[in-house]
Every structure is written in C-alpha cells, then in structure tokens.
C-alpha cells in the first residue's frame, strides 16, 4: 500500500510535478515511517522545490533509518549536503560531503563524482562567505579611518578661517592654504585606500592561479595530482587518458603505463590550500 503511493510519487516526479510527488511520499510516510527510501525521495522532491529545511530533515531521517555506515545512505548524504548549501551552511555541507566522498571512494559507489563536485562547491561557498565578511569588516575600518581624516581636515580648516577673521592672514593666503589642506586630505584618503586595497587579496589583486597548480593537459587547477616517472605532475584524469592511449610520457616520450603514476600528496595539499583561500578558482 505504502509502496504503491511511492510509485505514484515517482511517476509524478519523473513528469516534473514535484509538489504532487512530495504529497504522495508524505502519504507513504504516514503509512510507514520506517522506510528510508520514502524520505530520500521526498528529500530530492523538496530540493527541487527549494524547501531546504524540510529537505534537510528528510535526508537526515533517511540516513538515520539506513544507518550512517550503509552505502545506501550516500545518496541521502548527497541530498543533505545540497540542502545545507541551500540553507547557507557551507561548513556543515562540506563536512557531510567530504565524509561521504571518502566512504563513496572506498565503496566504489556511483555517488563519488556528485560528491566530489559538491565538496568543491561547498569549499567555494565557505570561501565566499568568509570573503564577504572580511570585505564588510574592512569597509567599516576603512570608513572609520576616512572619517578621521575628514574630521582632521575640518578642524584645520576651522583654524584657518579663524586666522582669516582675526586678520592674521589675507584672502589670497587663506585661499592657498585652504587648497593645500584639501589636497593633503585627498592624498591621505587615497593612500589609505591603496593600503587597504593591497591587503584585500581577493577583491583588488588580479585573480590568477599560479602555473604550478595548473594541469598541463586540461589547463585547470589540479584536484587529484599524480606524478610521472620523469617528475612532472598532471591531474589524474587527463594524463591517465593520454598514457592509456599512447603508452609514453608526454614530455620525454619514454614508455610508461598508468600504473607508473604516483599520487603527489604535497601538491594536492598545495592545491587544496589555494582553493581554500581562493574559492573563485573552482570556476577559473
């Protein structure tokens, strides 16, 4: 009975009627609240409907019902990570997705590729959130410093006006000194802004990924770098394809096999650190 309701939900889901599908899955859950696949399916419907909080709840229920070590729960972890990203909780999304990615790799589960993509997206979101906070804070500090410079200029100008009124200086002298004060104040503001721009990495500095993190075949930042016997590192996917086909090292043309490729963990760590500080590089 409950299974029939799920089948009806699946049909509507395929047709793109996510609200209808959600309704049938809810009816199925009302009949049997111990079947994890009902929750998994309702979670994905709710992701399509961008009901993130409900989707998070369903994905968590499914994972609890499957048991967290069960490979069947990996799909629910993928949905959970998506819901958490939707809820602007990227750090939690990252933790869920990277745990699931490791499990999925060792279980050779079909979700590995999806999970690795969401790990990157979560990294990007974490970086974006930090970047926004940093810029806001920077803006506030910059604003305060600029206000100080402005106040200082007004005080000096007030003194100058006083001297003019008391006849200590003439009109021409006043005009010259006033202009000099203005120029000084503007120069100070410019210098302060430049200093802030220099220390504000992401916004002002040119966005370039260093060449040593770029794969020579795909020209993208490396995610899973491996090293050839001749000592050059490439991202696994491209080099494996080429070596499979040609049987030689792309630089030295010495015969080699895919089995000769070794993980380059140090470079992997460098790429990961770069991505942590430069989330934009995911789309670069």
């Amino acid at each position: 009975m409950a299974q029939e309701l799920k089948a009806k939900g699946n049909e509507l889901f395929k047709q793109g009627d996510y609200t209808g599908a959600e309704d049938f899955y809810s009816q199925a859950i009302a009949k049997n609240s111990k079947e994890p696949s009902f929750f998994t399916n309702r979670a994905i419907s709710r992701i399509y409907l961008t009901k993130w909080t409900d989707a998070e709840h369903d994905a968590r229920s499914a994972i609890t019902l499957y048991g967290s070590k069960n490979p069947l729960a990996l799909k629910s972890s993928y949905y959970l990570a998506q819901a958490l990203l939707g809820l602007q909780r990227p750090q939690e999304a990252y933790d869920v997705a990277s745990d699931a990615y490791k499990q999925s790799l060792s279980a050779k589960n079909a979700q590995t590729e999806n999970l690795s993509r969401i790990v990157l997206r979560a990294k990007q979101a974490i970086w974006a959130a930090r970047e926004t906070a940093r810029l806001r804070e920077m803006d506030a500090t910059l604003g305060a410093v600029e206000a100080l410079i402005e106040a200082d200029y007004k005080r000096a100008l007030g003194e100058l006006e006083g001297r003019l009124e008391r006849g200590e200086i003439g009109e021409i002298g006043f005009g010259e000194d006033r202009d000099a004060l203005r120029v000084d104040a503007e120069k100070n503001v410019r210098n302060v802004r430049e200093a802030f721009a220099l220390s504000s990495k992401g916004e002002v500095k040119e966005r370039v990924v260093p060449d040593y993190l770029i794969d020579g075949i795909t020209f993208e930042i490396m995610h899973d770098p491996v090293i050839t016997p001749s000592g050059t590192s490439f991202d696994r996917i491209g080099i494996a394809k080429y070596v499979e086909k040609s049987g030689v090292d792309p630089l030295t043309r010495t015969p080699m096999t895919v089995g000769d490729l070794r993980n380059n963990y140090a470079l992997k760590a460098a790429c990961e650190e770069f991505l942590t500080n430069n989330g934009w590089a995911v789309d670069w």
Binding site: G216, I217, T218, F219, G238, K241, Y242, L251
Partner: protein, 157 residues
C-alpha cells in the same frame, strides 16, 4: 571531455600575449581556428611573407592532436596567402611534422607552441623545394592528416 574548456583557456592566454610573428585570425568557434605566422629572421625564402594556418580540433583535443595545415587566401581578400616552399610542406598545405602526428603529439603542446615549431621549421630551411612525390601526393591522398604515416627520417630540415 575538456576540449572546449582547454581551448578557451588557450585563447584567453593568447589574447593576453602572443609571441612575435604570430597572430590570431579567427577563433570564434572552438572547432576551427586560423592563425597567421611570419618568419622573423632574414631567410630570403620567406622574407616579408605571412602564411596562414588552419587548426581543426576534435572533442578529444588535447589528448589527440589538432589537424594543422597551411591554407591559401585569394589576393582579393586583401590578405593574399600562399603555401610556403619547404621540403616538408606539400603544395596543398599539408605539413609533414612529427609532433602533429598521432604518434608524435603530446598533450602539453598548444596552438601557440605548434605555431612556434612551424616558425622555426621555416627559419631553419634553405631549400626552395617541395617534398619528393608532391604532385602524386596531392592528387591521391584522401586520408585524414593525422593518419598519414609520414616517415620522419630527415632530421636536418
């Protein structure tokens, strides 16, 4: 496959900077590009001449090589282009260069590096002649460029 992304990055890099004597003529789609190259030294065979190259990319680029050949342009276009005289370049523009064949290609090569190799292949040449059997070849060859089994025995040219 990553052909599209890789080519758009090559383009981005070249828009920033191209080596002397190399110019992008056409790169509006990611299947066929055209490049102009010039020989920079005083070699009398190629002095003051510009030659046009056509690059064709498959979806397997850069795992597989692009198909590269010289093409002609009519004088009426305002940019007359001929096929350079060279013992490894057939009169229909097909080039006999090991790095352009499936066996000699490496995915670390780029459009730019291919252009530079061809520049230096011209620079180093002093023979005003076509490959042996040129007429035969251009009338009978129907194979794809990268599948032609050239014999690269002559390393002096």
């Amino acid at each position: 496959m990553f052909a599209t992304k890789r080519l758009s990055k090559e383009l981005l890099k070249m828009k920033d900077h191209v080596p002397p004597g190399i110019e992008i003529v056409k790169s509006d789609n990611l299947e066929e590009w055209q490049m102009d190259i010039k020989v920079l030294d005083e070699n009398p065979l190629y002095q003051n001449q510009t030659y046009r190259l056509k690059f064709m990319f498959s979806s397997k680029y850069p795992i597989e090589p692009p198909e590269v050949q010289f093409i002609t342009c009519d004088a009426s276009t305002g940019h007359p282009r001929t096929i350079p005289m060279h013992p490894h370049i057939y009169s229909n523009g097909i080039i006999c260069l090991d790095l352009l064949g499936s066996a000699g290609w490496s995915p670390v090569q780029t459009v730019e590096s291919v252009c530079m190799s061809l520049q230096s292949m011209l620079t180093a040449n002093n023979r005003d002649e076509r490959p042996p059997g040129d007429q035969e070849f251009i009338t009978h060859n129907r194979r794809r460029i990268r599948d032609i089994n050239f014999v690269y025995e002559d390393d002096n040219v």
